[in-house]
């Protein structure tokens, strides 16, 4: 008798669970169908075109922009590469961004300061070696003074070279960003002005 009662309760419970489950699914499906707006989905004017001609023009414009973007990606200078170039040889990155005057000035200053620093360091070491072996008090003082002055020039020039190198690295970031920003404008101009176009897929002649 008791087992029968348990089975009845279990059956009622299962039935309730099934009804609730079906109810949830049914409500979801009905609700989904009512909220989906098929007319809004199929409305072609939402993208800005009013007819098929507009749509075709729009598509052509997108295709052109994609081509230009590919061209931009081909011609744009990667910042990291330019940074490494300028870090290795100051001014190299600026040469790549077509800032030839600035690049020449940076490279020249860097060469002059480094070579000057090397020259004064060499002078300092000649006197410093004599200082190290001197035994007479006047000679000790004289050679030390003669070594100290060119050594300070060498350090100053090395400091200047470091400052110029730092500026060069800082400048190449700005130069590269400017170059890439102008490049897009330049590509657009070229595209408009010339009937002969360079595209990622090759040359194209427009009539």
């Amino acid at each position: 008798m008791r087992n029968l009662s348990i089975q009845a309760h279990l059956f009622v419970f299962k039935l309730t669970y099934l009804v609730l489950l079906i109810g949830c699914f049914g409500f979801g499906i009905l609700n989904a169908q009512t909220s989906f707006d098929i007319q809004a989905f199929s409305d072609s004017t939402k993208y800005g075109w009013q007819n098929y001609l507009d749509r075709a023009t729009y598509r052509e414009d997108i295709t052109n922009r994609q081509n230009l973007l590919q061209l931009y990606e081909l011609e744009a200078l990667p910042l990291r590469t330019n940074l490494i170039k300028s870090a290795v040889i100051p001014g190299w990155g600026q040469f790549s961004t077509k800032n030839n005057s600035k690049a020449t000035i940076i490279l020249s200053i860097e060469l002059v300061t480094l070579l000057g620093s090397l020259y004064f360091y060499d002078q300092a070491m000649v006197n410093y070696n004599q200082y190290k072996t001197a035994t007479q008090i006047d000679e000790i003082n004289r050679y030390y003074s003669k070594a100290q002055t060119p050594y300070q020039y060498a350090i100053m020039l090395l400091g200047l070279a470091t400052v110029v190198w730092g500026y060069n690295v800082f400048d190449v970031v700005i130069s590269t960003n400017e170059y890439n920003a102008n490049l897009w404008q330049d590509i657009m101009e070229r595209q408009k002005s010339s009937p002969l176009q360079i595209t990622p897929s090759g040359l194209e002649w427009r009539f």
């Binding site: 008090i137 030390y144 070594a147 100053m156 400091g159």
Partner: protein
């Protein structure tokens, strides 16, 4: 931008002021304050051998330095005031004497001949790094007949 430039200038000044050459000479009194600089010999005077045949010599005498900073003396000679002076001999300092003495004789050195010479003297003190030589005395003109 100005702040960056200012920082760079300060860094540069620090770099320059911090980077002096090391006083690595073991005989440099600036790098080794324990070293005593030998005093400059003073009161240098001379007598010479007479004219005529025989041994020629120049007898140099000068006032004694303090034995605290002097172990000996270098004797230099030159043919002119501005010429290079060459060491002719080394004399050890004799404690207790008021004057020190050196005889430059043709008996020991064949270059001692009649003529005009310039002599000067400097003191030295021996340290573990070598001999630290002090300043030179004023050159003394000597005419050897």
């Amino acid at each position: 931008m100005r702040k960056i430039l200012l920082i760079l200038l300060i860094l540069g000044a620090l770099l320059v002021s911090a980077c002096g050459l090391k006083r690595s000479n073991p005989l440099d009194p600036v790098g080794n304050p324990a070293l005593e600089i030998p005093g400059t010999p003073s009161g240098l005077r001379y007598t010479t051998s007479g004219s005529g045949p025989g041994t020629k010599f120049v007898n140099l005498t000068w006032d004694s330095n303090s034995s605290i900073n002097t172990d000996g003396y270098y004797i230099y000679r030159s043919l002119a005031y501005f010429n290079t002076f060459a060491v002719v001999d080394t004399v050890l300092h004799i404690n207790g004497n008021l004057t020190q003495n050196f005889i430059h004789s043709s008996a020991d050195d064949s270059t001692v001949l009649p003529g005009d010479y310039w002599y000067r003297v400097s003191a030295f003190k021996t340290y573990h790094g070598g001999r630290l030589e002090g300043r030179f005395s004023e050159p003394l003109f000597v005419r050897l007949p």
